[in-house]
């Protein structure tokens, strides 16, 4: 299997889906030029500027426009340059993209993919570094995925584009240059399925996005100390793969959740809460702490 960076894998996913389905269109600021990180570089040359559409800096309206194209038969992918700017587009995303299928009684489908990148990388300050995923996961009707490696990035992006629901695809800027094996085939990765990255028997480490690689490194260190750690990457935070996490915790009786975000109201707390409701945390030996 060829090795690609996370960024190249996302670009390959976009390119393959645009080739496969002529109703896939990309909208966003500077996307025809490749954007600030070069993710969409070359797509305008390959597929035309009409399908890789540069937009003004009008996030609220461009989000609505993308949703509107979906109501008229297209399969839009919108790039919001930094997740911090998704705030400007929340009205359209929450009130229309997430709700039109439900509120129309199924008459409308919104096959929208929202590509954003998040997180701390490059000393950019608090307007370019936030992790707002739990905010999005709170909204019924939205799916939220957070790939941690190139293969998942490509595979989940394909699933997101093919999904008939709005999917927020959260990339991590700090991972763009990370490398990994990526299938050159047309393989998609199912939304809502966790990846068991390492088997272990003493503790379950649930890690997301930028925290997956450090979690795997930690598991290796623990192994040297005689502790066997299992590492699970949920990959999708809405819907969450509760069962995979529960099965692991039942086995190990210990759980550590590692993700990059502010503590209050984070997705980690939600994972604990859901696992409590499944009863899997009955298997936990010690008290919970943050």
């Amino acid at each position: 299997m060829p090795e690609q960076t996370y960024l190249e894998a996302i670009r390959a996913g976009l390119e393959e889906e645009m080739r496969r389905d002529p109703s896939v269109y990309i909208f966003g600021e500077d996307v025809a030029l490749g954007g600030p990180f070069g993710v969409t570089k070359g797509l305008a040359e390959t597929f035309g500027a009409n399908r890789t559409v540069n937009t003004p800096i009008s996030e609220a309206t461009v989000m609505g426009l993308a949703i509107g194209t979906a109501t008229a038969g297209l399969r839009p992918v919108i790039e919001i340059m930094f997740i911090d700017f998704i705030t400007l587009a929340m009205d359209q995303l929450i009130n229309h993209a997430a709700k039109l299928h439900y509120m129309s009684g199924g008459q409308l489908k919104i096959p929208l993919t929202v590509r954003v990148q998040c997180g701390i990388s490059g000393a950019m300050g608090a307007h370019h570094s936030q992790s707002l995923e739990s905010w999005l996961a709170h909204v019924p009707g939205l799916k939220v995925v957070m790939p941690a490696n190139p293969a998942d990035a490509k595979g989940l992006l394909k699933s997101a584009i093919r999904d008939d629901n709005p999917v927020v695809f959260i990339e991590h800027r700090g991972l763009y240059r990370s490398k990994g094996d990526v299938s050159a085939s047309d393989k998609s990765v199912a939304i809502g399925k966790a990846a068991l990255l390492r088997q272990g028997s003493d503790v379950t480490i649930v890690a997301l996005s930028s925290m997956v690689a450090p979690a795997l490194a930690a598991a290796k260190e623990l192994e040297a100390q005689g502790i066997s750690a299992e590492v699970i990457d949920p990959r999708t935070i809405s819907p969450l793969d509760i069962e995979s996490i529960a099965n692991s915790v039942k086995k190990t009786s210990r759980m550590v959740i590692v993700h990059e975000a502010v503590e209050q109201g984070g997705i980690g707390a939600e994972i604990v809460s859901i696992e409590l409701s499944t009863g899997s945390l009955m298997y936990i030996f010690l008290t919970m702490t943050r």
Binding site: L65, G68, L74, H96, K109
Partner: protein, 323 residues
């Protein structure tokens, strides 16, 4: 291309549609007063000339987007009034299975794509439909209705800019009824005519008497021809008045009674009626029959709605996603 003058026969059909909207909304109002319909209800009684004038010129495959006061727009685009009434009453037989309601009508089968509870919220959606229509290149257009209150929102301005920049086949129909909820437009902006905004963005714009069916039709006829020919967006501002409060139950104390009386004289249905009578195209008896026929259809729609079941428990939480 100059607007074609309506024949008496055409005008009669347009009046019939206006009466259907009026009778429908009056019936909705009665049911609401009787608590047989609940929720938030915004009626467009008095604004029928805009809906019928604008939408009577469209094709079936054109896209229409509305707002929170859009029963009339859906009917003018051809929505089935039984399914519409059932939706407003929250019944399973409604267009959206009872999950949308008055402010969130979707009647996709006739091209009424969606209304919204967010003021101005569908303006960007119409741009998207215009974009898709332009790519498909089959002469489809998108029409979006919004009120004067939307003119002070950010997406309104962003949308005018993008529609102009990309020359999208979108007709912006501003129903300027003078009030943004409870507040007169003059308290929200120094801009007297919202059409002025469109001109700034390079979009041809007109302000017309929105209570004059023929004036709305004339402006829309030019707009539709131009838009369909790929010559970009158009803005039509229709000056009108809602004869009811912002929502049913709003006593509308902010409005002078004399003002309401003045607008009642400009009732769009009465004006079309006068025009037909002056042409001797219709007798009083025929006019009365048209009115009672519309009322009978509205009654039947109400009967259908109220006899329909509520959504089943398993339907209430279904369709959050497609899978």
């Amino acid at each position: 291309m100059a607007a074609k003058k309506e024949s008496p026969r055409e005008t009669i059909e347009l009046l019939r549609r206006m009466w259907l909207i009026r009778a429908f909304e009056e019936k909705v109002s009665t049911l609401y007063a009787e608590r047989q319909i609940v929720g938030l209800l915004h009626l467009g009684i008095g604004q029928e000339a805009v809906a019928v004038g604008a939408l009577s010129l469209l094709r079936d495959d054109d896209y229409v987007y509305g707002g929170h006061r859009s029963h009339g727009h859906a009917i003018a685009k051809g929505a089935d009034i039984n399914k519409l009434m059932a939706e407003i009453a929250g019944r399973a037989t409604g267009y959206c299975g009872g999950k949308g309601g008055s402010m969130h009508i979707v009647a996709k089968e006739c091209g009424f794509i969606t209304a919204t509870g967010v003021v101005g919220g569908t303006i960007p959606l119409a741009l998207g439909a215009g974009f898709a229509a332009k790519e498909r290149n089959k002469g489809q257009i998108a029409v979006v209705f919004f009120g004067d209150g939307a003119g002070q929102s950010g997406p309104f301005h962003e949308s005018l800019n993008i529609a102009s920049l990309w020359q999208l086949p979108v007709i912006f129909v501003c129903e300027n009824n003078g009030y943004a909820e409870f507040t007169p437009l003059s308290a929200h902006t120094k801009v007297g005519r919202l059409a002025q905004h469109a001109k700034i963005y390079g979009i041809p714009a007109n302000t017309v008497d929105g209570n004059d069916l023929f004036a709305v039709r004339a402006a829309m006829s030019k707009a539709v021809d131009k838009c369909r020919a790929g010559k970009g967006p158009i803005f039509v501002e229709c000056l009108t008045h809602r004869m009811r409060g912002h929502y049913e139950g709003d006593p509308a104390k902010y409005r002078e009674l004399s003002q309401l009386a003045e607008w009642k004289k400009k009732d769009p249905i009465a004006r079309v009626t006068r025009a037909l009578k002056s042409q001797k195209a219709l007798t009083d008896k025929e006019l009365a029959a048209m009115e009672s026929e519309a009322q009978a259809l509205a009654e039947k729609a109400a009967e259908f709605a109220l006899a329909s079941p509520w959504p089943a428990d398993d339907q209430v939480a279904s369709q959050v996603t497609t899978n």
